[in-house]
């Protein structure tokens, strides 16, 4: 198998890229998920200016392509006097995308908590924030967990876009390798195998976790 020999010899060149892709994904989830929850709370909250701000952030984050957001921050931040590394720009931009999508998942989770829970919280004397914090939110997060995990897998795929702003992740390592060896088909096939296998394994775990979680419901 000539293909396989090639692939094995290429793995050392690609694996640092895969590491960058994974850490990019990890950081985006680390920042994006709390951002999503915050945006969801702002959207559901009683303060109108906050609601408007959150609405704009979410609608732009979901409505504009992730690629355009990357370029927007990559070219836009230096214009505002902020100069960051490509990696940092990638983290900020993809966290925005993650947060925007996550906020909708948190919101649907909040909406799925039965109204009786809210009423019960009030009758037990847990009003306002404390009722929300101890009764509604834990249930909402539990409902939102499976779709949020799927979002995490999607974000791993989306991290490949950081290639366009010269983040040294898997896709850019693959492109560099292709332009050295001229074996584009083989290089990108290996890249597809790497992305595909990680995605499929991660999705299998998500499905397993989903079954575990729903067992008690």
């Amino acid at each position: 198998m000539i293909f396989l020999d090639q692939w094995i010899s290429w793995l050392p060149a690609l694996s640092p890229g895969l590491g960058v892709s994974l850490s990019l994904t990890g950081l985006c989830l680390l920042f994006g998920m709390p951002l999503g929850l915050l945006l969801a709370l702002m959207l559901e909250g009683p303060v109108k200016p906050l609601r408007v701000v959150a609405l704009v952030v979410v609608e732009v984050g979901r409505g504009a392509p992730a690629l355009v957001l990357l370029y927007l921050l990559y070219f836009g931040l230096p214009e505002g006097g902020v100069t960051l590394s490509a990696f940092a720009t990638g983290v900020i931009s993809l966290s925005w995308t993650t947060g925007a999508y996550a906020s909708e998942l948190f919101r649907s989770g909040l909406a799925a908590v039965p109204a009786g829970q809210r009423e019960a919280a009030i009758t037990s004397g847990l009003r306002g924030w404390s009722g929300f914090r101890y009764i509604i939110l834990p249930q909402a997060i539990r409902i939102s967990t499976p779709p949020l995990a799927s979002l995490g897998v999607t974000i791993f795929q989306t991290s490949s876009l950081a290639f366009v702003i010269a983040v040294p992740e898997l896709m850019s390592k693959a492109y560099a390798l292709g332009s050295i060896t001229f074996e584009y088909l083989s290089v990108f096939a290996l890249t597809s195998v790497l992305y595909g296998s990680i995605t499929l394994v991660a999705l299998a775990f998500v499905r397993l976790a989903e079954q575990r979680l729903s067992r008690h419901l």
């Binding site: 409505g63 392509p65 355009v68 927007l72 490949s160 876009l161 584009y184 499929l200």
Partner: protein
């Protein structure tokens, strides 16, 4: 500036529209195979759908645009991106159809069969009209997702909205403004799509007299 970025709308629409159409057509045999009673065919279709969706779109585009010419299949960037997005769309559309079909009660198939309807008329007159109504919002949502994904075609040199915005930002050093315009154009294009889908959905629901 606006004029140059807006000049990319044509190609964005062409790539999104063509891929959606081809993907929608390819999705039909695919969903039939996915639901087939013959296990090897079903396994093959399931594997295709899962694998296509597991690979990032940009990797598909590069595989087709840079990889295929190695074996003498040279494609221009527009056809390469249409082929790439059609492959991706076919997998997503097949899943969309499948969820639509799953929402139709088994009794509808049984009733149509009991009336002596064969596969084609049964599909054409009983199942499809009902499935279409359920699936339409999901198709519209996917069309919007595909519209945004089409921005990736700029990475292989298709002169669509994002590519034009890149050109403008390099020429004028006003990247923030150029990509803000590009982003707003995508949002502006997806709004009519969402509204049209909602309208058609409502009309269809009235026509079929269901809630």
């Amino acid at each position: 500036m606006l004029a140059q970025i807006a000049s990319g709308i044509g190609l964005t629409v062409v790539i999104t529209g063509a891929s959606l159409l081809i993907g929608a057509l390819l999705g039909l045999p695919l969903v039939a195979a996915r639901r087939s009673a013959w296990v090897p065919l079903r396994t093959l279709a399931t594997a295709y759908i899962d694998i296509v969706r597991a690979i990032p779109p940009i990797t598909w585009l590069f595989l087709i645009y840079f990889g295929l010419p190695q074996y003498a299949l040279r494609l221009d960037s527009v056809s390469a991106s249409i082929i790439g997005f059609s492959v991706i769309a076919s997998a997503y559309m097949a899943e969309t159809y499948r969820s639509g079909l799953l929402s139709i009660p088994q009794g509808q198939w049984e009733a149509a069969t009991a009336l002596g309807m064969k596969f084609l008329p049964r599909t054409r007159y009983v199942i499809t009209p009902q499935a279409f109504k359920v699936t339409l919002p999901a198709i519209a949502a996917y069309a919007i997702a595909l519209l945004k994904d089409s921005a990736l075609a700029s990475t292989i040199g298709v002169h669509e909205i994002t590519y034009q915005a890149g050109l403008v930002s390099r020429a004028t050093h006003q990247g923030l403004l150029a990509f803000s315009i590009a982003g707003l154009l995508y949002i502006a294009m997806s709004i009519p799509l969402a509204l049209a889908a909602r309208r058609v959905d409502r009309v269809l629901r009235q026509k079929l007299e269901v809630a």
